[in-house]
């Protein structure tokens, strides 16, 4: 006996599949397709094979800008990985302590900047750090550190680090919340048993809590990676699309923006922009796949 075709499956899947296809899958595939084309001077589009990629990676002018953006973006990501996530972990560990007074208030306050618009964050920090009107200089003098003050956002050597730390400040709430949630899900019996066995709080944290939340730490890492390689607004809001000084804060997002939309007298190129977007997609795809195949599969999961 043959079962009736499960029409209800199509019915229930259709809305999600249609929306995803129209607004996400199709634009992505069309971007990939566009990167194989080129526009002539009169505006006609023709198939060009891999020539855009050859230009991007082979032409000295393009490849230098591309690798500069890639390296800056990697630094941007590494700073998040090494500063944001450990601090997030530490904050989550502190918040999950039993009997901490005002834990909810701290949690809300630390999470608050995440909810603000990146443009506002950029503007506020630009004002705080401004050598003309900012409060940071007097603040440092009050601490006796005044002579360390500098125009950090304007210096080639410090602009990218400053921007990364601003971004860390804003988004610290996300790893904190994710890790906090998974810390809360550790059963109390487990921790009490360890306590009875005479384990120190430090030992409990490293040998019991951290292994149990490792999958969450992995997730946080990959979310940070994807977020950082897609980011654009903060640099654009603070330094403009040219990501100065001398492209020292140029990341993939701003590089893509200038290529696709053009900037001042640099004319935008949709096809070359699609090529950069495709490269961004490939980088993120590679990173995520590497994570899933090399890390995620080897993580031990404990049934709680």
């Amino acid at each position: 006996m043959q079962r009736a075709f499960p029409w209800h499956l199509i019915f229930f899947l259709a809305p999600a599949v249609i929306i995803y296809t129209v607004f996400s899958a199709y634009p992505l595939l069309d971007t990939l397709r566009l990167s194989f084309f080129t526009d002539s001077e009169s505006g006609e589009r023709s198939f060009a094979g891999l020539s855009n990629f050859v230009t991007l990676l082979g032409n000295a002018v393009w490849s230098e800008a591309f690798w500069n953006a890639m390296w800056n973006n990697t630094q941007f990501f590494l700073i998040h990985l090494l500063v944001q996530n450990p601090i997030g972990l530490g904050l989550a560990a502190l918040l999950s302590l039993k009997g901490l007074r005002g834990a909810r208030t701290y949690r809300t306050l630390i999470f608050l900047p995440t909810l603000l618009s990146v443009v506002i964050i950029g503007f506020i920090w630009q004002l705080i750090l401004s050598p003309l009107w900012g409060v940071s200089e007097n603040f440092l003098y009050a601490l006796g550190l005044g002579h360390y003050f500098d125009a950090w956002l304007g210096k080639e050597s410090s602009a990218l680090i400053t921007l990364s730390l601003i971004s860390v400040w804003q988004f610290i709430g996300i790893p904190m919340m994710l890790i906090y949630a998974s810390l809360l899900s550790i059963p109390d019996e487990l921790l009490e048993a360890a306590k009875v066995d005479g384990a120190s709080p430090f030992r409990i944290f490293w040998r019991i809590k951290v292994p149990l939340i490792l999958p969450t730490l992995g997730l946080v890492t990959i979310l940070t990676f994807v977020g950082n390689f897609n980011t654009f607004e903060l640099v654009y809001a603070v330094k403009g699309a040219l990501a100065g000084p001398d492209y020292s804060t140029d990341i993939m997002g701003t590089f893509f923006y200038r290529t696709f939309f053009g900037y001042q007298s640099q004319l935008g190129s949709a096809t070359m922009g699609a090529t950069v977007a495709t490269m961004m997609f490939l980088v993120i795809l590679t990173g995520v796949m590497a994570y899933f195949y090399l890390v995620q599969r080897r993580l031990t999961r404990y049934q709680l």
């Binding site: 001077e41 009169s42 505006g43 002018v61 393009w62 630009q126 750090l129 401004s130 050598p131 003309l132 009107w133 500098d150 125009a151 950090w152 956002l153 304007g154 210096k155 080639e156 330094k239 403009g240 699309a241 040219l242 100065g244 000084p245 001398d246 492209y247 939309f261 053009g262 900037y263 001042q264 007298s265 640099q266 004319l267 935008g268």
Partner: protein, 417 residues
């Protein structure tokens, strides 16, 4: 009786609708968001006094998005009838793609000099595709109160200029120069191409580069960067992270003596500054030298060939070329100077001072505006970057010149051998 009222109003609605169909509508594409009120309240009503049957709408897009969104709308066929034109290559590209109409038969074009038309002509100069509208003149503003407090006169030569800066620095707590390098464009557009023409003799030096007779590493161009390298002592504390808005505020609050600028800032300081300010032109090397000013052709207006009302659009352009418009535009949009040959009386004292330089000095446009911005690496951006690096003291003038020259030689035939 009851049904009469709706019928009447319906008839009225139909009548208005048919009238609207007969009246011609023109939409203007522009990046001058700041001027929207001005167009709606002054310029368009003035046009409608002469041509009541043409309805005009001013539809601006923000400056950084203008070029790309205009391009997209042109390709989709939804762009407005009249297009405000960027100078040189951006508009030339639009013309080549068939998105701007050739205007050679437009009578209004006769009211403009060749130098004005060059920004919107094909390379051979045979075809014009936009009507020149306005230029901006570069120079320096100074705070008259600070100058009189310190007994200073507006400088004319470079030595006097440095003497003034030194006096402000050592004898007062004011910042000598309100200038920052965070946004980078000022370093090129209101510093390098502002003071530079006096070093490279204006048009002569600009054309020598285009013809391949000179290179950026030659003394005249290098000298402009060398002059800039001397400025870092006089700029505000932490100037590498000072934005354009910071500089404007610094000067408007009376905390800085001199502000390198373009004439478009006149109206801003008329509103914001509580003190009297004046303007002086870029200093020359020695007293009595011929002065050169950057009188940059900044804005033109052209017709979209896809317009449904090309005749009305031409009527509008001819009005833009009229003496009435020149007067209205120059005096209402303070700091933008009409490019037509009609004599215009400028009411604003600072704007009048700046436009008077046209009589005594030779005009030139921004060094790289024509031809030189066409290649990759884009020279405009490169100039922003190296010029702000020179002001920051991160690279030497020689390194700046070499970087620009090697980028130029990479793609520009007359320069590459």
């Amino acid at each position: 009786m009851l049904s009469l009222k709706p019928t009447l109003s319906l008839t009225a609605a139909l009548l208005t609708a048919s009238l609207a169909v007969e009246a011609q509508t023109l939409t203007i594409e522009s990046w001058r968001v700041d001027d929207k009120d001005l167009w709606q309240d002054i310029l368009i009503p003035a046009f409608n006094q002469q041509h009541p049957d043409i309805e005009v709408r001013f539809n601006p897009t923000s400056p950084t998005e203008y070029d790309s969104s205009l391009n997209a709308r042109m390709q989709a066929g939804t762009a407005g009838d009249l297009v405000t034109c960027r100078p040189f290559d951006v508009s030339l590209n639009l013309y080549r793609q068939g998105h701007l109409m050739a205007l050679n038969d437009l009578t209004g074009l006769d009211h403009y000099q060749d130098f004005a038309k060059r920004a919107w002509s094909t390379d051979d100069g045979a075809t014009s595709f936009c009507l020149p509208m306005a230029s901006v003149i570069h120079g320096f503003f100074y705070n008259k109160e600070i100058f009189s407090e310190l007994n200073l006169d507006p400088p004319e030569t470079l030595d006097e200029f440095h003497a003034v800066l030194q006096t402000v620095k050592s004898e007062s707590r004011y910042t000598p120069l309100a200038l920052g390098t965070n946004d980078q464009w000022e370093a090129n557009q209101i510093v390098f191409t502002n003071i530079g023409p006096n070093f490279w003799q204006g048009e002569a030096g600009r054309l020598a580069l285009i013809n391949g007779e000179a290179t950026f590493t030659d003394a005249p161009y290098l000298a402009a960067w060398e002059e800039m390298a001397r400025w870092s002592d006089y700029m505000g504390r932490g100037y590498p992270s000072q934005t354009y808005g910071d500089s404007q505020n610094l000067f408007a609050l009376g905390r800085a003596a001199i502000y390198p600028t373009g004439s478009w800032d006149t109206s801003y300081f008329n509103d914001q500054a509580s003190f009297e300010f004046g303007a002086f032109k870029p200093p020359v090397s020695a007293s009595g030298d011929q002065c050169h000013i950057s009188d940059h052709t900044d804005m033109g207006i052209g017709i979209n060939p896809a317009s449904a009302n090309p005749e009305a659009a031409k009527t509008f352009l001819n009005w833009v070329a009229s003496a009435d418009f020149a007067d209205l535009f120059t005096n209402e949009v303070t700091g933008f100077f009409s490019l037509s040959t009609h004599p215009v009386e400028v009411n604003d004292p600072v704007a009048a001072e700046m436009i008077s330089w046209r009589d005594e000095c030779d005009s030139t446009i921004r060094l790289n505006a024509q031809v030189m911005n066409r290649g990759t690496p884009n020279m405009e951006q490169e100039l922003w970057i190296v010029s702000s690096q020179v002001l920051n003291g991160d690279i030497t003038p020689e390194e700046a010149a070499e970087r620009i020259q090697s980028g130029f030689a990479q793609w520009y035939e007359p320069q590459s051998e």
